[in-house]
């Protein structure tokens, strides 16, 4: 049927299709195309700013404190960033942290077991909370806002109700005298001395989580799937990406991060107040958004979430070092959020247009 081919002259011109509008991007533009660049600029500006108004701020001790304050947000921001890239978000994270801590504490206290049993159980509970969140979401196809709002409320109630029911009080009993507390504390709430400065272990856990999450996101199959399910779940499904498993897995990853932070809360302070944690979910989401994660999914990075958490930590502690009136902190945080998102948006559009 060669005649068929010869009959169709326009199709055989082998002109390679190069669009003259697609110019080669230079390395700087490439860098500007990264999701976390807006946050990075913000972090540098903020750091220079606080360093110039407060002498204490740049001392190693103070910096370790800033890092600690950032890490307790940052650990959760890792999971929340991944989830947001995967196109969902979770309002139950703040209280889920406390649920995890309460589970470990109440279980080992009530049954008088080694605290490590409680810690393992708490891990399973945290993963189960994530699993249930994800599973309901996938089954019902409701927006994650509704599903996790429901689980936020339910967990808040469970935290308060079960704690009173089991322990007879609104805070968990102290478990500092129990077997295994010392070793658990060493794992979750100790400090490491580096050059005479005590750095809390959560800082290292945070860095490790960011590194692992970045690797997963950029260099593994699963990472590819996370971007895909967030960017376009239907397209992902059509090419054989296990959308449900990926999303449920993401919620479980958030659960895992919540478990780590919950254990830190428990072993750093011996007891847990059952009403704590409410409102923190927004801090994690703020960190992820400042860090350049798109609220609609499909775009962002784990490093971005970490920088977002660091910005929060700097602002939060910097105000104390600078001896300022903290009345304005929330306003400042809101402004940061708005600016960071606008910068992200502009940078992203610019980078994409070029």
């Amino acid at each position: 049927m060669t005649q068929t081919i010869s009959k169709t002259p326009p199709s055989k011109t082998p002109a390679p299709v190069t669009d003259e509008r697609v110019a080669k991007r230079n390395p700087l533009q490439k860098l500007l195309g990264r999701p976390e660049v807006g946050a990075l600029v913000g972090a540098i500006v903020l750091f220079v700013f606080f360093a110039s108004v407060s002498q204490t701020f740049i001392q190693p001790n103070a910096f370790a404190t800033v890092l600690y304050g950032s890490s307790t947000i940052g650990i959760m921001a890792v999971g929340v960033s991944l989830l947001m890239i995967g196109g969902e978000f979770d309002l139950s994270t703040g209280v889920a942290v406390i649920s995890s801590a309460l589970t470990a504490s109440m279980f080992s206290w009530y049954f008088a077991t080694n605290v490590w049993i409680g810690v393992i159980l708490a891990l399973m509970v945290s993963l189960a909370i994530g699993f249930i969140n994800g599973w309901i979401l996938m089954k019902t196809k409701l927006p994650s806002f509704i599903v996790t709002l429901a689980s936020f409320l339910m967990l808040t109630g469970l935290n308060l109700g079960l704690t009173r029911l089991i322990g007879g009080s609104v805070s968990s009993p102290s478990i500092s005298a129990m077997d295994g507390f010392g070793s658990a504390r060493a794992v979750f709430a100790s400090s490491v001395t580096i050059g005479g400065v005590d750095v809390k272990i959560t800082v290292f856990i945070w860095f490790a989580l960011v590194a692992v999450a970045s690797w997963v996101l950029l260099r593994t199959k699963v990472g590819n799937w996370i971007f895909a399910v967030g960017g376009d779940a239907n397209a992902a499904r059509a090419v054989g990406v296990p959308v449900k498993a990926t999303k449920i897995g993401l919620f479980m990853a958030v659960g895992f991060c919540g478990w780590i932070l919950g254990m830190h809360n428990l072993f750093a302070f011996d007891t847990v107040q059952s009403g704590e944690g409410i409102g923190n979910e927004f801090l994690y989401i703020i960190a992820a958004v400042i860090g350049g994660c798109l609220l609609t999914g499909g775009y962002g990075s784990a490093v971005g979430g970490a920088i977002g958490a660091f910005i929060f930590g700097m602002a939060n502690k910097g105000i104390v070092y600078a001896q300022w009136n903290p009345d304005w902190f929330k306003f400042f945080l809101g402004l940061m959020l708005l600016l960071a998102t606008i910068v992200n948006l502009i940078v992203k559009r610019r980078a994409e247009l070029k």
Partner: protein, 311 residues
């Protein structure tokens, strides 16, 4: 000007394809039908797809084109007739089934994730990895190289496979989707209205890729409602209307005009002209439509006289 339909008997009973003379068809449908409840979406459709051939499925909206591809792609199952793959009767239960049988579908929405880089999109769902156990990581360099090479072979020269696929033009995105299907071993490529949302120039680009895929030995099913797009690239043409086959032609037996006439249906155009006139439409426009009606009617009459419609 007589269009001769492919003889059903030749197609079905003779094991050899009259076009390629290969022993069996890559894919063939015999009297396939499908109904949803009491609505008959498709009835008695017969067609064949061969290596290195483009089979065009033409029809207006609601003609049953999408039902047909859904059956072939494994999204729906037919409830009458036979679907043969390489001479073997099959009934797909899932898209995965169809994919495993070498049937890849490029849907209208393309199944690409706009914000992801081209190479990630190319390998999405079938990523290449290296390493062991939990430390398996993506073989990024290899995937980028393959993407670049495969796209170059299809005639697209992209210097940067890192750019988000959303930055590509509609035609280029189609090309990536086609190249992806080709690379992952598709034998039959179904293209669902690939030119519907494109401008003239971009459509041309996509048509070229269809020929590229054909020249690489794939059997292509090209779904469209535009005979001007179908005719230059197609080897066979199946015309659908209201869920029924109204004609199945070899390229050598039909002209573009005849194809257009068959598609449009002269009577309906005449009705349109009448309506426009009654509505007091602009006289020039009406005249234009009337002229077209006259032309189409001539051709249609000729077709009718030559070969009675296949019901």
């Amino acid at each position: 000007m007589n269009a001769k339909e492919i003889d059903q008997q030749t197609l079905l009973q003779n094991e050899k394809d009259p076009l390629t003379h290969t022993p069996v068809h890559l894919l063939s449908l015999e009297g396939v039908g499908k109904h949803y409840g009491n609505i008959i979406a498709l009835s008695d459709v017969t067609m064949a797809v061969d290596n290195g051939r483009v089979t065009c499925v033409l029809g207006d909206n609601g003609a049953g084109k999408s039902t047909l591809i859904k059956i072939i792609a494994g999204l729906h199952q037919h409830d009458a007739g036979v679907l043969n793959i390489m001479g073997e009767e099959r009934k797909f239960t899932s898209p995965r089934d169809a994919l495993d049988a070498g049937i890849a579908t490029v849907y209208q929405d393309l199944a690409v994730v706009p914000l992801m880089p081209i190479w990630r999109n190319f390998f999405l769902g079938s990523e290449l990895t290296s390493g062991f156990g939990p430390f398996k990581s993506l073989d990024v360099e290899k995937m980028k190289a393959i993407t670049l090479k495969e796209l170059a072979e299809m005639g697209i020269d992209l210097r940067d496979v890192e750019q988000p696929i959303g930055q590509l033009s509609g035609g280029e995105r189609q090309c990536v989707a086609i190249a992806r299907a080709v690379y992952f071993g598709a034998k039959v490529l179904i293209l669902d209205e690939p030119t519907a949302a494109l401008g003239v120039k971009q459509s041309g680009v996509v048509l070229r890729y269809i020929l590229q895929a054909r020249d690489r030995g794939l059997g292509v099913i090209f779904i469209t409602h535009n005979p001007h797009h179908a005719f230059p690239v197609g080897d066979r043409f199946l015309l659908l209307k209201r869920g029924k086959s109204i004609g199945y032609y070899d390229k050598k037996d039909i002209t573009l005009d005849e194809l257009t006439a068959q598609m449009a249906g002269g009577a309906e155009l005449a009705e349109l002209a009448h309506e426009l006139e009654q509505l007091g439409g602009h006289s020039d426009v009406v005249k234009e439509v009337q002229a077209e009606v006259a032309g189409v009617a001539d051709v249609a009459d000729a077709v009718q006289a030559g070969a009675p419609r296949h019901a």
